[in-house]
């Protein structure tokens, strides 16, 4: 579907790519950070609401020596809904550096269920690692940043990589593709926790607070990949307020209920975890806060075993932000959700047309209570015949 988009000078773009993540952080006019990718071939069809995101990136991204340039590509984890389309992007654009967790580096046997694009990502990561380990200059297009701890990293060739190739939860960095942007850009790392090849990929997702600033004003974007309740809660309990503050929060795992519904070892069934919702709410920026769910429209109900998005999660998030500030990428397709950084920090750019809510309208409580309680507020609305 054709799309005309005015790209903000600094800001965020959440692409409507179905239920999957494709988020672009526009650090400045020259530098974009792409977090995850979900390019659906079906989206290339004009009749499809969803955006063929790689095409858009190639079209709109800054150009470096005539070639689309992505300063950094962060793979929160290598599930298909986060990496699909990477091979095409890598082929047609310059990707300055790759950000990924050590989970990516486990042997192919551990990664045997990876999709083709994920395998390309692993291969590219290994290429860059080997190149750097060989002592070659790690310029743009060859850089890596391994985020997180893993015993694997003590082995060759990882042990031969310089320190600037690593960071871990609790640390922050301000460089992007070799350039220090400490005046305007900072990434605080929250996850992954230390793991190994046996861990579920979701549980070792990258989690980051990305702060963009002009010196006076700041805007913060918090993304936690596909983490679920225990890790989300641990991050909020562990971090300091400023490291967790968010203007925009990406609903983890495409608005999954697993963020706030969980069966702890002591529990005999799954329970709603209000504590994590309170923690998320407590860190919302008082000057303006949005939650973005990168998924298709929210279903009208949840059934056991349903994949995300989940209505239960959407219901919870709607109570955390001001009315209208819970956004679903699928509701606005084919237009992406665009946040522009300005004097007031990150602000949602008004959509071209007000999206029609796809969730149920909902009756007023008194009507429902009257109906449920056996009291009709209006009586029968038409003739009632009897034989």
């Amino acid at each position: 579907m054709a799309l005309s988009l005015k790209v903000p000078s600094v800001g965020l773009i959440f692409w409507p790519v179905g239920t999957g993540d494709s988020t672009t952080v526009i650090v400045d006019k020259k530098r974009w950070v792409q977090i995850d990718l979900h390019h659906l071939v079906a989206a290339e069809d004009d009749d499809d609401d969803r955006v063929p995101v790689v095409d858009r990136l190639l079209e709109l991204a800054p150009k470096l020596t005539g070639k689309p340039y992505i300063a950094a590509f962060a793979a929160t984890h290598l599930d298909e809904d986060h990496i699909k389309g990477f091979a095409n992007l890598l082929k047609k654009a310059t990707i300055g550096e790759l950000w990924f967790s050590p989970r990516v580096l486990h042997s192919n046997e551990d990664n045997k269920d990876l999709c083709a694009d994920a395998k390309v990502f692993v291969k590219e990561a290994q290429r860059r690692i080997n190149r750097i380990a060989d002592g070659k200059t790690a310029g743009s297009g060859h850089r890596i940043l391994i985020i997180g701890e893993d015993d694997l990293l003590s082995e060759s060739p990882y042990s031969e990589l310089p320190a600037e190739c690593f960071t871990a939860p609790g640390e922050f960095f301000t460089t992007l593709d070799g350039e220090d942007l400490s005046e305007t850009f900072q990434v605080f790392v929250h996850s992954p926790k230390k793991g190994d090849g046996d861990d579920d990929r979701n549980d070792l997702s990258l989690g980051m607070q990305i702060m963009i600033s002009d010196g006076d004003t700041r805007g913060t974007f918090l993304t936690l990949g596909d983490l679920a309740y225990p890790d989300v809660k641990a991050i909020f309990k562990r971090g300091k307020y400023g490291e967790l503050l968010w203007s925009v929060f990406q609903a983890p795992h495409h608005c999954s209920r697993k963020v706030m519904y969980w069966q702890d070892t002591d529990d005999d069934e799954e329970k709603r975890k209000k504590d994590v919702l309170d923690l998320i709410e407590d860190h919302a920026d008082e000057d303006g806060a949005w939650i973005v769910a990168s998924c298709d429209s929210i279903p009208s109900s949840d059934k056991p075993g349903d994949n995300p998005p989940h209505k239960a999660a959407a219901t919870a998030y709607k109570a955390i932000v001001d009315s209208g500030n819970f956004l679903v990428t699928g509701d606005n397709a084919p237009d992406p959700r665009v946040f522009e950084f300005g004097d007031d920090g990150l602000e949602l750019r008004a959509p071209a047309a007000k999206p029609q809510p796809k969730s149920p309208q909902g009756k007023r409580l008194s009507e429902g209570a009257a109906a449920a309680g056996g009291f009709s507020s209006s009586g029968h609305g038409s003739l009632v015949g009897f034989g």
Binding site: T315, K318, A369
Partner: protein, 761 residues
Amino acid sequence: MSATSWQKRAIAQLRAIEAATDGGLEVVDVLEPAEIGDQLKAFISVRCDNIEQTTDGIRYREREEFEVRVPAFFPYRRPSLYVSHRRWRGRPHVYASGYVCIYQAESEWQPSRGMYGFISRVDLWLERAAVGSLNAADVAIEPPVTTVRAETLVVAREDCPEVTDKPWLGYAELAVRDGRVDIVGWRTTPSERAAPAILLTDRMGPVFPAYVEGLLDDLAERGVPHGRIFQTLIDGAQLRDRSQPMWIVLGTPMRRAEDLSALQHLTVWEISPAMADALSVARSQADDAGEVAELRKSVQDSVIEWAETAKVSWCEVSEDRPEIVTRRDDRSPVADAFLGKRVVVWGCGAVGAPAAEWAVRAGASEVVLYDKDKVSPGILVRQPYVDEDVGLYKVDCLARRLEAIGRATVTANRKDLLASALLSDDWHDNADILIDATASASVRLRAEEANRFRPAPGATLAMMVGHDAERALAAVIPAGYPGLAEDVFRAAKLRACADKRLVGFADEFWPDHPRADLFQPEPGCSDATFRGSAVEVAGLTAILMRDAAPRLAVADHQAHAIFTALPSVEHPGTNHAEINVDASVRLPDSAGAYEIRLSATARKSLGKLMRQHASGAHPDDETGGVLFGRRDEIVDVIWIDEVGPPPDDSVSSPTRFDCGVKGVAEAVDQARKQSRDETGYIGLWHTHPNCDAVLSLVDVDGMFGLVHGHEDLPEALMLIVAGSARAKRAAAYVFVRDRAITTIAPVIVPLDRGQAAASSR
């Protein structure tokens, strides 16, 4: 899981609403209680973006989440609503604890509608809160939260002094008893029975500091520096009763008055005796030296450590300040009548004892009790005494009971009224309201006599109960009415005997024949009394007091009699009636010691007869007739109840009236029968159309003839009326057999309003 079936029903109802609202309400979680009896918590998410919102109201999110706490005994106990966020704090009806007040009164909760009604109420609240139409004046400013740790209960009784532009530092006067301290006044100088008091001009936070250090800092921020606080603490510690802890009263303007201005919310901080002792010696002295100086330093260090680390012990404070607490009987005429009044109660039995207690509860400030009897076991059935009281004087027991209410000073008199109070000049004890609950004719008569010479300054309420406690009668005599209960009961009897609607009461209180079935609980050796339970007698007494109350509060020349019967009583006529008794015209006895009371009825009849005569053939002739009434030699009062027309065989001329006899005997007989012997022949009246109401020789001759010629008439009254029907005046003369009238000094009294008094004295 320990949810009760009632709590499960609540959840089922919530689920039904969830299904019916199509996403408008979602039950997002249910936390069952850990133990039976605990609350169940249901978390609901409510769609709010379909509610009209204005800038004055709460700004909702697309969905808002609430915690509904469902008690174990739902719906017999109502659920409550909470929010966990702080966005709405400070809004009307949202408390610091997150509690959302959606019901102003418990009575608004409808158990039968259960969660359906509750959620409808939530919806109404959301609708009003969204447009800012929840009235802040409906509720007081939320009192701050303190952690109560001290065991002392503090009752605030006296209104706070005015706090204007700076904190008020002074002292609260205390009344201390076991485990309880009452604030009974405010003063600017310290004393042994006063606690330091700090009343702020600025509000504190919704939760008061738990630690001394935090409290001191909060006070400093509000204009009371640390040094000043310590000075106050030390002064208070030095002066306090050392056997007690030390209390510091802290006021913050966090309560709302009716006019929306802020009133002081009082909290009380308790300091242990040991720490108060340390504070009392903490101030350095100029002559400190050597060991004393070291000791002082050690004490000061301990005080500093205490101030930095100790927790604040807050006392529970119960409010009784008039500026805070609206009396629960506000707007009741009973409170209007009794509030702040001195009340004297004669008789502490089944009528008087509850009446005295109700007077105290209605705000009487002083109560004087009279009863000479002791408590016997039999009266426990219906009088408010206890077994331990048996053998003790009723007044002492009742006084103790009334004093325990803590609102009035009570004086108990065990003396026989007739032999004590009613013999004294201030027989009425300067009562604002005198309650005669003796049902004693003797007391009533003696009071009537005493009242003649030293009128009661206040109002009087006399009550009596019928023989089976199904009917009761009261005389309500406002200040200014010329007469007491005897007077009003006479009028009530006459009216009841003449009015078919009141015949049931006439039969009860003035039966044609003396009641033969007297009830003597202990035959042969106890006074006769009525049969009936505490319920009936209290019910009747309550009705009489309630109806009398508006009449007791204002001075008037009209008294009232109240007849009442229990609603279930079936008797001829009405079950409840109030009759007005207009003041009689009082005439002195120009020939002796009686007081003659010409009733309003008699006065009207007099005017009517005089008009008829004036329009007749011989208006200049005298006219006259028979006087009906009662002469009471005990109180020396003659009541003229009615005047009769001239008998047909009377002879009159401009200078003489000879009262005939035709029909007189029949009229007298009828009057006596109808009034059940209350009224009868007492003398004659005649007019002086051509001169004043002065006794003539003809009059003297006639009256002497009357009292000497009739065996059953040793005394007779002559009423001479002068003037016109509209402007008549009269003088009364009582002739007594074998007693010469030596001094004739008539006092002529105008009978009609606006007429100047005349006297030929």
